[in-house]
């Protein structure tokens, strides 16, 4: 389903249908997913439709930039570094691109969403919530529902720490796709309650294609500085 399309096309995967067809000379984009439909007439001579996974913080509507993944608690010794694999939710973005501009046309997902508060109600942030198992190898994932995140955790503080969640700022997120959707991230534990998280702009496997990012197309300038988790990680 992911890729670039020009003119008429039709892609159907399970309950998801995405198509563009000419009706009476008008090119109409149509999407059906989870019994919801979306339709737009496209007026374009040279434009292309791009479908790829995007930062999973847009549905049911855009209220935050943060993603929190919760997993089984891990005890990490001082100085230790470990790479684990987590699952993260996938949202599918559809873009229309011409020589001069690119714009978001549609965002959808076949799965449900849940949000949470990270930190206190006064100073905390709202984040998209997702629960994942911790896997030592790349786990099998349900296509279009979940992606695989390679997370390198490094404990640079002098104490044992317990880690059971990680929070990311999605404006930094770099997503790649191929056989599955993937992202690579790091978590550097600074103290018993503080950690720095960031994404790495690299494919998990050779040959994966980089997704067009929502934040890039919305022309919102963002400095890739990672996110500082100040309110703990367990």
């Amino acid at each position: 389903m992911f890729g670039r399309y020009r003119g008429n096309f039709r892609r159907e995967c399970g309950d998801i249908l995405v198509e563009a067809e000419s009706v009476d000379g008008l090119l109409t984009y149509r999407r059906r997913c989870e019994r919801q439909t979306f339709e737009r007439i496209l007026v374009s001579n040279t434009g292309e439709v791009i479908i790829n996974p995007v930062e999973p913080v847009n549905l049911p509507k855009d209220i935050t930039d943060f993603l929190q993944i919760e997993f089984s608690p891990m005890m990490i010794e001082p100085g230790a570094t470990r790479t684990v694999y987590l699952k993260f939710p996938v949202e599918i973005g559809v873009f229309v691109e011409s020589a001069r501009d690119i714009e978001v046309l549609d965002v959808f997902a076949p799965s449900t969403q849940k949000y949470t508060l990270y930190g206190s109600p006064t100073n905390g942030i709202i984040a998209r919530y997702y629960e994942s198992a911790v896997c030592p190898e790349i786990p099998p994932v349900e296509p279009f529902h979940e992606g695989v995140m390679e997370l390198s955790i490094q404990n640079i503080c002098r104490e044992w720490v317990e880690v059971s969640r990680v929070v990311f700022e999605s404006t930094d997120m770099k997503i790649y796709y191929g056989d599955f959707v993937a992202a690579t991230a790091t978590m550097k534990i600074l103290t018993k309650t503080m950690a720095e998280t960031d994404f790495v702009d690299a494919p998990l496997r050779p040959g994966m294609v980089k997704s067009v990012e929502l934040y890039a197309t919305r022309k919102i300038p963002a400095i890739d500085r990672g996110y500082l988790m100040e309110w703990g990680f367990s």
């Binding site: 549905l59 049911p60 209220i63 935050t64 449900t112 969403q113 849940k114 949000y115 949470t116 508060l117 990270y118 930190g119 109600p121 006064t122 100073n123 905390g124 942030i125 709202i126 919530y129 919305r218 022309k219 919102i220 300038p221």
Partner: protein, 283 residues
């Protein structure tokens, strides 16, 4: 009769040595200043449209606008033979006079500046101030504009805003709301709690953490009263609140748990003799 422009421009207007030409210069400089200020503030808004929150953007646009106008005024004043150094000398006395004369205006102005920099409210926030509830449309130099939930435009002087208790409903990231759910005494309260929690769990914006809490709060005359505390993002709490209650009611009823009608059990000392029952005729 010939019309000589130069002569017209040199006609004094009757105030000092100020001529028509200098007056026109003054008006031209102010006009150009206002034009530049407008163009600059519009461009500031346009360029920063998606880069800054609306509050900061508006504050910056206003600073640019008034900054340019003040600059134009300072540049134009010498055309009216207004000595700025003299203004400085007279500033102290004039300040006191103006201060007394425009006490409320200055008070509103200072309050407005504090509001802009302290940020108890921002444009777009849902607030309740001085018994007015609604969303903040604009924070101006002298007043704050609020659009009530009924769509009414209300202008409140900044002094009143600044000295009143302000309830800002969206200042924090999340807020809690409460439901009171009544079930019959014969219904299983634990089952009702489980069902209510399940329904709450399905809503994307009913926050996972802080976790929702549903419990038996008290035993009423004819009902067991459950209370549900649910946290939601502050800007989305109303849609969660209006969406969930009916879903909980439907889910409870699907499982045989109903909302009771008000009822009272009455005991008669001698038993109750029913008259006028079926087949019996009163005469």
């Amino acid at each position: 009769m010939t019309f000589n422009v130069t002569e017209v421009l040199e006609i004094p207007i009757g105030v000092g040595d100020i001529t028509v030409e200098r007056l026109l210069y003054f008006v031209a400089i102010i006009t150009v200043g206002v034009l530049i200020a407008r163009i600059a503030s519009i461009n500031v808004r346009r360029v920063l449209a998606e880069r800054l929150p609306v509050n900061e953007r508006e504050l910056l646009a206003k600073l640019v606008y008034y900054g340019i106008i003040i600059w134009a005024f300072v540049v134009a004043l010498p055309q009216l033979e207004f000595d700025l150094s003299g203004l400085l000398v007279a500033g102290g006395v004039a300040g006191i006079v103006i201060g007394f004369a425009s006490q409320s205006v200055v008070s509103n102005l200072i309050s407005g500046l504090f509001l802009m920099f302290e940020h108890p409210i921002r444009i777009g926030d849902y607030i309740n101030v001085a018994d007015v509830a609604g969303s903040v449309e604009d924070i101006r130099v002298l007043s704050t504009v609020i659009k009530t939930y009924d769509g009414i435009y209300i202008r409140i002087p900044n002094e009143k805003v600044f000295t009143s208790n302000i309830a800002n409903y969206v200042h924090n990231a999340a807020r809690r709301f409460t439901y009171e759910i009544r079930i019959r005494h014969q219904d299983d309260a634990n089952e009702a709690i489980r069902i209510a929690k399940e329904v709450i769990e399905t809503h994307p914006f009913a926050l996972k953490n802080p976790a929702p809490s549903v419990f038996v709060d008290n035993l009423g005359d004819y009902s067991v009263n459950l209370t549900a505390y649910i946290w939601a993002p502050a800007r989305n709490w109303w849609e969660v609140r209006t969406d969930l209650l009916w879903k909980i009611k439907v889910a409870l009823e699907e499982n045989g748990i109903e909302v009771p009608f008000p009822q009272r059990t009455v005991w008669f000392a001698d038993g109750l003799e029913v008259k006028g029952g079926s087949g019996e005729k009163n005469e």
